[in-house]
């Protein structure tokens, strides 16, 4: 499950715009794609620390990551071109449990990132609902043909059938709302990480009512583990 040997140097095969995001395609090298929801640490050229990304797609011989250019590290990743090389470590952390009967995939914004690989691994074209801030962001829905898409001010939570087993990824307020609606949901959480393998203690999140390292406990968490905290706090 954990993979914390030396990072692998991977060649960039291509970088394509998907709405405001960039789909960065890397040669797979010897790396295992892992389980959907697991993540990889990608070297951000010119920066000291790598950045965590869940795997978006695993085409033959490739690993593809969806990058939102929100700062100098992600901007450097979006500027990569075919032939460049970066160091990659992974797969890391715990992904989604796939043995479920009635999956519903829920994504908010860049939280769409792990869902294409998740849908592929679940098989049988599971239903998908996606919410985005703007029509431009919603162009990313092209990564999941057939998904139901809403744009702000309509919220993705309004499309959730509580009878489904929800597998979600998105901003924290969305995940909290999903957790309250579906206490059995699996939620892909996010936190700043320096290492991704338990060394830096930087990525702690309140899990089971205590600060725990997300890179080891998650990033996919059972809703009950974060809800417990919310109830205690309330």
């Amino acid at each position: 499950m954990q993979s914390s040997g030396s990072p692998s140097r991977l060649r960039v095969n291509g970088a394509e715009r998907v709405g405001p995001y960039t789909l960065l395609r890397l040669e797979r090298g010897g790396l295992d794609p892992g389980v959907p929801g697991q993540f990889f640490m990608l070297e951000a050229p010119g920066r000291l620390l790598p950045r965590p990304f869940s795997l978006c797609l695993a085409p033959a011989g490739e690993l593809a990551f969806l990058v939102d250019p929100i700062g100098p590290g992600t901007e450097a990743l979006c500027a990569l071109r075919a032939g460049d090389e970066i160091c990659v470590l992974g797969p890391l952390g715990r992904g989604y449990r796939l043995e479920i009967d009635r999956p519903l995939l829920v994504g908010g914004g860049i939280g769409i990132a792990p869902l294409p690989f998740l849908a592929e691994q679940l098989g049988g074209s599971p239903p998908v609902v996606l919410g985005f801030r703007t029509a431009e962001h919603a162009e990313a829905a092209s990564l999941l043909p057939g998904a139901e898409v809403v744009v702000d001010p309509v919220l993705v939570n309004e499309l959730i059938d509580p009878g489904c087993e929800v597998l979600a990824c998105g901003p924290e307020p969305m995940l909290q709302a999903v957790a309250e609606l579906c206490p059995t949901a699996q939620l892909a959480w996010e936190a700043p990480m320096a290492c991704g393998y338990g060394a830096c203690y930087g990525c702690v999140v309140e899990i089971d009512g205590a600060l725990k390292r997300l890179c080891l406990e998650g990033p996919v968490l059972d809703a009950a583990r974060v809800l417990a905290h919310a109830e205690v706090a309330a």
Partner: protein, 284 residues
């Protein structure tokens, strides 16, 4: 020259294959009582460095001794335990409970907790009475005269020095608010290296004690520079986050750097920096 990790920059139980590349593993600082640590966000990247405010998160002395330490011993790596506290007795009581390890590092300089009330020398003296294990005093370069502190802890019975800890610093977000929930944090990474080299150099001159040098080491050449300033061993910190293969890489690069610099043995590099010209440039 041995390659260690900087305390708090590696969990040997979570990543044993990284720890096994080291000549010795230094634990995260252990305090008498459990500490959950600082609220997130705890880390921030800066120009040529990073800030952290982990806040000495640790299971506390009892759980460490009963749970973590036996499991660490099973890894078969020489161990050094980093000890912290808020008064001399805190440190001494933990030191008295430690055995079967190679050394104790006294964290006298964490920037993410309030200062210990007792002086570094008082803490070292109390620990000296509590244990016969080798004591390494980890000092901050934020003191106006780190060599003076080094002399004081040497006089109190320290067997060696760990130099340097992070430096207290602040990073602001786009809205000009501190990125870290704690406000300030400890600066680490390449930005620290020149500060660390200077501290190692003056403390080596002042005390002659064995020194574990650390602060921004990324390559074998960096490690050799620490040796040239008087470090006997080096520790890797921030570089481990981006490169868990760094200990093995730095070890092999060190050999190439030694050949390129024309040094017969990395352990003989000490003294390279002490040309008369350099001595004049190093302020007392």
């Amino acid at each position: 020259m041995r390659i260690l990790n900087a305390s708090g920059c590696l969990d040997a139980l979570a990543a044993p294959e990284v720890a096994r590349q080291l000549d010795a593993f230094v634990t995260k600082t252990v305090t008498p009582l459990p500490r959950e640590g600082s609220a997130p966000p705890r880390i921030a990247e800066t120009a040529h460095g990073m800030l952290n405010a982990i806040g000495l998160a640790n299971p506390g002395r009892d759980r460490f001794l009963a749970g973590n330490l036996p499991r660490l011993r099973e890894l078969g790596i020489p161990l050094s335990v980093s000890v912290g506290g808020f008064c001399a007795d805190d440190y001494a009581e933990t030191c008295a409970a430690l055995f079967g390890i190679e050394a104790i590092e006294l964290n006298l300089s964490c920037p993410n907790v309030d200062e210990a009330a007792d002086s570094a020398a008082e803490i070292v003296a109390a620990c000296r009475r509590a244990t016969e294990l080798p004591l390494y005093a980890k000092l901050s370069a934020a003191h106006p005269d780190v060599a003076e502190v080094a002399c004081a802890v040497a006089g109190a019975g320290a067997n060696g020095l760990s130099l340097i800890n992070t430096l207290r610093a602040v990073a602001l977000d786009r809205q000009l608010r501190p990125v870290l929930a704690r406000g300030s944090g400890g600066l680490s990474g390449p930005a620290l290296k020149p500060v660390a080299l200077h501290a190692v150099s003056v403390c080596h001159e002042a005390t002659g004690l064995p020194i574990v040098g650390m602060g921004g080491i990324e390559t074998g050449r960096d490690a050799l520079e620490f040796a040239a300033c008087g470090a006997r061993d080096v520790a890797l910190g921030t570089v481990l986050f981006a490169d868990p293969g760094a200990p093995a890489r730095v070890r092999s690069e060190l050999e190439a750097a030694r050949v390129e610099a024309g040094v017969a043995n990395a352990d003989d590099a000490d003294g390279l920096s002490k040309s008369p010209e350099t001595e004049e440039k190093v302020p007392a």
